[in-house]
Each structure stands twice: as C-alpha cells, then as structure tokens.
Symmetry: C2
Amino acid sequence: MRASELNQRKPVILKVGGSVITDKNNELAPQTQVMNRLAEEIQKANVKNLVIVHGGGSFGHPTAQKYAIKDGLKDDKQILGFAETHHVMTVLNGLFMDALVWHNIPAVSITPSSCMTTEMGRIKFFDETILKMLLRMGFLPVLYGDTILDEKLGFTILSGDQIVSHIARKFDAERIIIGVDVDGLYDADPKVAENAKMYSHLTLQELKKLQDKLGEPTACDVTGGMLGKMTELVPAIEQGIPVTIVNGTKQDYIYKALSGEKVEGTIIERE
Amino acid sequence: MRASELNQRKPVILKVGGSVITDKNNELAPQTQVMNRLAEEIQKANVKNLVIVHGGGSFGHPTAQKYAIKDGLKDDKQILGFAETHHVMTVLNGLFMDALVWHNIPAVSITPSSCMTTEMGRIKFFDETILKMLLRMGFLPVLYGDTILDEKLGFTILSGDQIVSHIARKFDAERIIIGVDVDGLYDADPKVAENAKMYSHLTLQELKKLQDKLGEPTACDVTGGMLGKMTELVPAIEQGIPVTIVNGTKQDYIYKALSGEKVEGTIIERE
C-alpha cells in the first residue's frame, strides 16, 4: 500500500494551549523544556494525519492586548503593534518547530496570516490545498493563533481554537485533543474555586447547559479562555467529532490521548 | 488624502541577497549586524509601498542541497529534509524580521510555502489578496526563498529571485533593487577573475548578449547565482521595470538605491 493511500484516514487535530508551552504569568516566556517533552510524546505516539495548532500564551496575548489588535484597525499606532504581535507569534512558533524538527518529526509550519483572512473575526478565506498536500505527503502541519487581516475590521486576532474547529470540520477530523494547563473541564474555574468539580464525560447537551457556569481564565487571554474554547468547538462536536481535554503540562497525558490510551481528562461527544 | 490613496503608487521591490544577511561560507551563520544596519537604512529611506524578498544564504542553501529538495520528492528520507530546510528558512526570516520590527518598521512576513505552490518549479498558485491588503494598510511585506509544494515534483525550492520577478510583474513595480555582495554586474565573476569589468548601465539587449559570459557563483547556491538572478529578472525588465544591482554589504548603498540617490551599481533597463 502506498503512503498516500495510508494517509487517507481522517486527521486528528491536537491543540497545544499557549498556557502549556509558555508561562502565561510572564511576558515572552517560553517553556522550552515542555516543548521538548511534547515533541518526544508526539514522536512516540506517531499518529498519522496529525495536525497541530498552538496558542499564543505569553507571546501573543499580552502584545495583542497592548495594541488592542482584536478590536481592529482604529489608530495608525496599531500598525506597528500588528507587526510586533505577528512577529512574536512567529518567534513562539519557531521555538516549538525547533523542538519538533530536531526530534525528527516532519513538521511544517503554516502561517495563518499568510493564507487566511477573516470577516468580523470569523475565517472567511482559507484555501486548504497546501494543508491537504502536506498531509497526503506525510508531513505534520503546524498552525497557530495569529494576527490576521480582516475584510471588515482591517485586522484582528484569529485564535488557535477557531482554527482547530474550522480545520476539524472541513477535514471531518477523527477527533480533537485539547492540551491545556488544567486536568479537564470543571463546573467552575479550578484555579480559583477549591471545590470545582471536573467532568470526565459530557454530552453536547450537558455541555450547553454548563456553558453559562464555566470559569473565566485567570491570566490574560484575548481569545476568551476555556469558555471561548468550548464555544468554538461546539460546531465540531455537533458534526460528530469528539473532543478530549487533557492536561498538557503533565508527563505523557498528551501521548496517551494521542495513542488512544485511557487518560484523566474530559471527553465531550455529540451523544 | 487617506493613507489608502497615498499607497496606490507602484510598489518598489527590494531583494536582499542571502549572501548579504548570512555568511555563505559557513552553515547557519547569520550576519545580524548587517541585518541591523539594513533595518536602519530601510527605516531611514522610508519608501512607501516597499516589498522585501530575501534569500536563503547559508541557512537555506546547504540544507536544501543536503536533501536534494530542489529535485523533488524521490525518497522518503527527504521528507524530514524538507521540514528541516523550511524550518531553517523561517529561523533566518525570524532574525531579519527581528531587526526590522525592533527598528519600528511595520514589517510583516509572508511565508511563501503557506500561500504558494509551484508546477515544475514555477509559481502556479499565489493569491495576492493578502499582499495587496498589507500594502494598502501601510505594512512592509517580507517574503523569502522557501521550500515549496510542487504539483508535479511533490516539492522543490522556490527562489527569492523568482518571487521578486513574479510580484514585480503582477504589481507592475516601479523598480527592483537587488542587494548582493558584489558591486554590480560584471562580464566575469569578480570573485575569481581579477580583470572582471563592471557595467554601470545595460539595456535588455546588451544583457541578453552578456548572459552567456556571466560568472558562476563561488559558494553553493541551489538557485543559480547571478546568472539565475538575471534570467529570472528578464521578464520584469521586458515589462519595463528597471533593475538596480547594488552592493548590500556596503554602508548606505541600499539606502541610496531606495532613496533614488546616485550610487555605484548596475542599472538594467528595457532600452
């Protein structure tokens, strides 16, 4: 069987939260040891047709907030801010790519702002040809939350979560794995509420009931934290794509999730 | 007058040779001091509607050659080589972007492999929308020679020179400035032939007569050196876009060329 046929299976989408690969309480603080551990886990799991999307953490978010990039172009001073925010995101991506490539993973970055545009913050244009070609040839495409040109706002922020949901639906993904810095989905913010209770399994209906109660993030996050993540992912879950939330800061949790092994976390399915 | 109207003038394309921003005799050797000087010159010249394209130098070329990326996908071992070559090019681009952004230049990188494909090594697909939007908003788009997916070869190398020529023609550029590590175009390789004679002005007809005699590059260059550069640029010159070749390793030469000041170099025009 040719590699191209083997690769026709549905893709798996792994989101690596900015809170996992950066220290969100300090500006421009990469967690390079975590990146190296994740690269080992991804290499070991060896999942075919994997797509990775990572967040901005302490690279993208503080810079984007400083210049109010998400609000769109309102002031010429933001022009330099957009350039700076995009640049720091490419630096973070470069550090993560470094870890992946030097672990002999055929990872190839796709720069969202080079190939996508949005309208009022929602993906309007994205030609999937290159992503498809990369997967067919056996590469591991890596995308990330980025500054983006917007047809109405001039520019804005495109979150990694929106990219995950968009690609998962377009490619009818087998499943989505979300690596964050908490153990799963709680009924309150586990970093604030001591008695927050984690769910191990939720149906879409149960998730929708919970959405009003979900905790807000503790560090700055222009894309909305866990609540925003879940809102973005609902359309993918509705399409029948299961979502697994795991703690990416803990050794082998992402490895186990990728390999299909049992691991602590929250699984959300259509029914 | 609005900024968007001011920016309707024809773009200027600046090619920064890999031989200028890297040491081509050593692998992965950036010339960060040169990058900083160039950033100062570009900032000082303050040319509206500028597009920069840079080469691969000692980042792209040795890695691409090691894995024969230009020849296309022939062996699975090249898959990692493609990932590695693309990665080192993004690292070089990141270093140059660092110099530009920290000099308060609103530079935004466009990753060629994220938005272009080739067929038999020639650009087949490139949607210019994002480049156009960036220019209209007052950004300085920066592209670079990159690994690229090819519809026939699987993948190959897309040279910065081909990108320059493509964009110049599509956008009907005002002029092209080529910054290299020699003073201009010679009748022989000035690094080898002591009596090589530099031309200060050439017509297209004169250039075509000279092409057979031009010197070959002294360091590895998978995209073909000065001869390749000229071959790529001929269609742009035929379209009436003048090309100025200057020494980018010399202080203020690129600044003067950008500002339209008289500077030593070679000008090539249609007639």
